[in-house]
Symmetry: C2
């Protein structure tokens, strides 16, 4: 056996061992009561606060290595753990502890003609694999949300955050210990070997679902190679369509807010569509507000008739998620043309119509095939807290199991519960 | 290019063309109203009844070929289309038309602190691939259920039923035509080339989910090779556990019914577990009933103390889905031992406890990790009709998206609907 094969075989053994331990621990976590899980969450928060100096010191190793290898400023910023960020991470865990307990919840328990009472019970999924990039707080957030939902986790963070992540994982294990839950329920992959990812996404016996958090390339590679189900979180190429029946001031406010609330979030507006019937009434004032704020507007030829000083939009613009102070604007013939544009260029994330017309609102809601369809609301609201789900692990652009913000509920599943009184069939 | 490469490339082209057409038609079907879809379902039923003689003639070709190639009697029986079976197929479609319309249904529309009203809308999945074996009625049933749920389908049946399936597909297209829905919404794969399956399960752009119906080998191969999500329907290795707090007569009736209602269904009882506290009280009478009915009982050593004339169970028996008049019986120490046995040998399909003890019932329901957990009910009830779902496409033993009987609801998904009044964030 050559050296590479040795390494590969040792990574495989290491990963299968993590998986086996996570699977065994998942049975304990699945049956733990809410109080015990909440005690663990609060204990993890306390451990993070107690370990502030260690966390900062370990994070400094990652920051130094990142600087040495010329990580970009935004990546270094995402990597940094400050005392304030550690506090906010601990705070997030305490908030997850405050969420209602949903495991074991019975619903729809209806009597059937046979006399059986049949409904559903909410239960954990089992073992969840999370693959993510530089931000170390994901280690705590993801483990906590999965734990609340009764799942074990196998976490694989970015290699640039390895020391920070290991230090956070230590706090998680302390917290689980303190609540007398198995530390094995949260496995952190300590090797930065890329072969570990391939093992993780192919261990059908040990992993029930993988959630990749990262760029489109990462998510696509993982979907292609996975042998376990994947819940994809792809980009947010979000649209606002200003209908000819829009209230002008509302349209300006909602479009402006959708773009400028925060440029870097996946719910940020990227392409504004405007009915040609209302373009000349709504666009000049909106353009003024946007340019005052420093947003570059790229317009189609039709739009440029109303906004002659705007930049030219190209075909590429309709397919680009800027995550930056740039907005493409297209004037369309009508609602159908707007929906056609969204179907062609959108990413199925979040799209909003501004209209006072009930029929247009209903058509848009029904026909636009996105994880969130909105009426007279800013796309930047697409977020688990705003939807009343509490913390989220991301926003699914997938179609099966869960679409939109993925909170505790999205990390669970339901089984059937059937209660009889000695009920038999066909007798 | 050699000949094989030519065939492969032509199958790929053929399948991609089917996929593209299904995808385009899916957008029409997704937005069709309930009345139109029901008109199509009834028209398909009428076309099947009108084409009875053609269907029987085409089926005869398959039967002849099957006999020539020595298909087994049970397979030939499953393959056969009689006038009565055609009527029952048509009847099934009419019943699907009578199911309530669920597409577009809004639920949980709650107001959030922002003032937004947020809930969910039930929507189709998109395009569903179905891969199945000999029974030709699946062609009509699966297409109909998917159509009711607003989905397009790509159907790939067994090669032994190819002529029957093509004749049924023709009736489906007539029915869609009659309701002015696109015939492209139901694609039947007319080639029996196995390469077509591989294309089907890898066309990420055209297929949203694949449902394989068939043996464990087929399902496992498809899961391994698929690049699209798969909803697995694996075997039903179902258990009844007779708890020490069971009512004796009820235990006998439910266990007997679970085994003997129909041997060949996936909800049939395969392994009976009995608490050692009650074994001697319940087993002799049950054994008598079972042997009178012609069921072979295979017992563990402990059970044989009570049933000395029973056959010996081996380790293999605990892992075998007989689908036949055979039952393995194991005496266990207590509830926990029963649940451990189910966790180790079960297939996560359907498991039932017979008990009068509330705490034992609740522990079993919570901890047994199966798509259906039952209390004082026969496992043979595991079926979409009995659960009030109407027709089903199968019983999912998967964990994500849908577990247990998969009816119309399991073939849909939900998106978020967000309604505001010009609502903006952080302003």
């Amino acid at each position: 056996m050559n050296k590479n094969a040795n390494i590969e075989s040792s990574v495989k053994k290491y990963m299968h061992d993590l998986g086996r331990r996570a699977r065994a621990a998942s049975q304990v976590i699945a049956n733990a009561d809410g109080q015990t899980k909440n005690r663990a969450l609060n204990a993890i928060a306390a451990a993070l606060l107690d370990s502030q100096s260690t966390l900062v010191a370990e994070n400094k190793k990652d920051m130094d290595a990142g600087q040495a290898s010329n990580l970009s400023e935004p990546l270094l910023d995402r990597l940094e753990l400050t005392p304030a960020r550690i506090e906010s991470m601990a705070n997030g865990l305490q908030q997850i502890a405050l969420l209602p307990e949903s495991i074991g919840e019975l619903s729809d328990m209806k009597f059937q003609p046979s006399g059986l009472q049949i409904g559903k019970m909410r239960v954990p999924i089992g073992v969840i694999g999370i693959i993510y990039e530089s931000r170390p707080n994901v280690t705590a957030d993801a483990a906590a949300l999965c734990l609340k939902a009764g799942n074990a986790t196998v976490l694989r963070g970015g290699s640039e955050a390895i020391n920070s992540n290991i230090a956070i994982a230590t706090c998680i294990h302390q917290g689980l210990d303190a609540a007398q839950l198995p530390a094995d329920a949260v496995q952190f992959v300590e090797t930065t070997d890329r072969a570990a990812v391939l093992e993780l996404i192919q261990m059908q016996d040990y992993i029930d679902v993988v959630i990749p958090r990262g760029g489109k390339g990462l998510v696509q590679r993982i979907s292609d190679d996975a042998r376990v189900p994947v819940i994809k979180h792809l980009e947010g190429l979000c649209h606002v369509y200003i209908d000819e029946f829009a209230e002008i001031d509302m349209a300006i406010e909602v479009a402006f807010n959708s773009k400028t609330y925060r440029y870097g979030i996946c719910g940020a507006l990227e392409t504004l569509l405007v009915s040609k019937e209302i373009a000349s009434k709504v666009l000049p004032a909106l353009y003024q507000k946007l340019t005052d704020k420093g947003v570059e507007v790229r317009a189609c030829a039709e739009t440029k008739k109303v906004l002659p000083t705007a930049a030219d939009a190209t075909e590429d613009d309709w397919g680009t998620e800027y995550l930056a102070p740039v907005l493409s604007v297209r004037t369309v013939d009508n609602l159908q043309a707007a929906m056609d544009h969204i179907a062609r260029y959108g990413s199925g994330h979040t799209d909003s119509i501004i209209t006072e017309n009930l029929n247009h609102a209903r058509q848009f809601m029904r026909q636009v095939d996105s994880s969130s369809v909105m009426v007279n609301a800013a796309t930047c609201f697409a977020d688990g807290f705003e939807y009343g789900l509490g913390a989220e692990i991301g926003i699914s652009t997938d179609r099966l199991h869960v679409r939109g913000p993925v909170g505790v509920e999205g990390l669970t599943t339901q089984k059937y519960v059937v209660i009889g009184e000695g009920t038999t069939r066909g007798t």
